[in-house]
Amino acid sequence: MLRTENLKIRRGSKTVLTDITLELKPGEVLGVLGPNGAGKSTLLGALCGELRPDEGRVWLDERELSHCTGAQRAQRLAVLPQVSTLDFGFRVEEVVGMGRLPYQSGRVRDDEIVAAALGAADAGHLSGRSYLALSGGERQRVHLARVLAQLWPGEAGQTLLLDEPTSMLDPLHQHTTLQAVREFADRGAAVLVILHDLNLAARYCDRLLLLEGGRPVALDTPEQVLRPESLKAVFGLEVLVQPHPERGHPLIIAR
């Protein structure tokens, strides 16, 4: 389980993230929202150990994250960055298979997991193709499958951090991707996902963290966070919020 207290990160003399206290709970999808430059990716960088906190600490279970290394950490924490650059023509299942690197589970089991993860990311049909021949959205789904394979099948104690996993996807795959993430969490893993689409966040997340200028504005259920006043204050956007006619979660409509 990943948690942090009073996290603060500076870039030069500028504080880019402060006052973050957060605990990622098993089985929960936590969405992070905020305008460009609010500190979302910085938060993810700190939570995965890439950025060293200037104040506060990040804990993975009972140990400090910076003390966890190697395969043991990789078996519990997987990270999907915003953009992945891969300039070599691996086959799709080879890319996903790299997610199995922290394990010695054997080729048969790895192949099963790769196939399952590809299926979950709705990318099973890409199997056998060269990564370089894929479109941007297809590549994004392949990388999602890779991080899913890294934690497959997903259980309590594991954490998945996703930085805008839907940024290049068509509307259908935005939903299938987040549905896959949702199911992953339902099996017990904790998920933190950075999103820009407020309606996707409302539908698939259990809790939302709203950031502005590196500070947390709200951390609560979607119903509590996605209110017209706070969205106006943070995004400068005039919105109507209504319950979804069929599902009941908040539906955000720009005025």
């Binding site: 990789a74 960055p81 070599f88 691996f90 890319v95 690197l101 922290p102 370089l132 021949a133």
Partner: protein, 345 residues
Amino acid sequence: MTTLVKPRTLFIGLSLLCLLAIWLSLALGPVSLPLLDTLRAALRLIGVPIAPDGLEQAELILGQIRLPRTLLGLAVGGVLALSGVAMQGLFRNPLADPGLVGVSSGAALGAAIAIVGGSAFGGLPESFGPYLLSLCAFLGGLGVTALVYRLGRRNGQTNVATMLLAGIALTALAGSAVGLFTYLADDATLRTLTFWNLGSLNGASYSRLWPLLLVTAGVALWLPRRAKALNALLLGESEAGHLGIDVEGLKRELVFCTALGVGAAVAAAGMIGFVGLVVPHLVRLLAGPDHRVLLPASVLAGASLLLFADLVARLALAPAELPIGIVTAFIGAPFFLILLLRRRA
């Protein structure tokens, strides 16, 4: 595009190619030996009891001249190809090459310093001269690699464009230093320096061979252990880190192996460009980018390519001999341009 050749087929094909290259390299030259005699003499040399009738001369040529030269070609080609794979993995860019980022010229500078410094002190002693030369070439290569690597990094990211440009600048700088030595050198030293700059397998001797064979064997055994980590590194440094790989350690190993390999190759045969670029590319085209196949296959392909290039160097202007660096550059430079244009498309 999917994988064209199965790894097994590739290894069988490359092994046969390599054996053919060895055979031809042993047989052809100023004194061409009949292929069958070459085979029998070679078998005798490795201890197979065959009647020695009429093979004395062939055995002498093989043992004293052709065999060390062929071994030198195998080792240089193999280790340069491996270094190319390591560089391309390190920079996550299929256009990186030990020659392009300045490793080779750094090694040549190290060798030049050793040669000129040695001649200033009355010549390098025969007993440890080759080792000192290898050491200087290695240190030169390591120094330039480390410098290029440092210059190319900002905020924990390696910027490939910066690094290639830094490599060009340092190559020019090392080249000017070698040029200065060339200008100041006396005739005998000048000849040796020219030899390093253009590369040649001529004058191979067992004493010059040993350091290189050791290094090649070491690098060829070490790098494949990191094949999976190299695959993951191609995803990006942070991605590899999230997959549990000690990225900083891996990068240090790659820089070290490259500097060691290229340094030893330059010390033994001078600057031979483009092998490290062309060979990994050809193997990737045939079998895909998986390092578990790429590394061992590149050793075989690099060794074969260098032997064939050496055959061209030996035979094109026979009885005179071309420096092999000219041959590999003549093949490699257009190949590089084609790759550049294809990537832009």
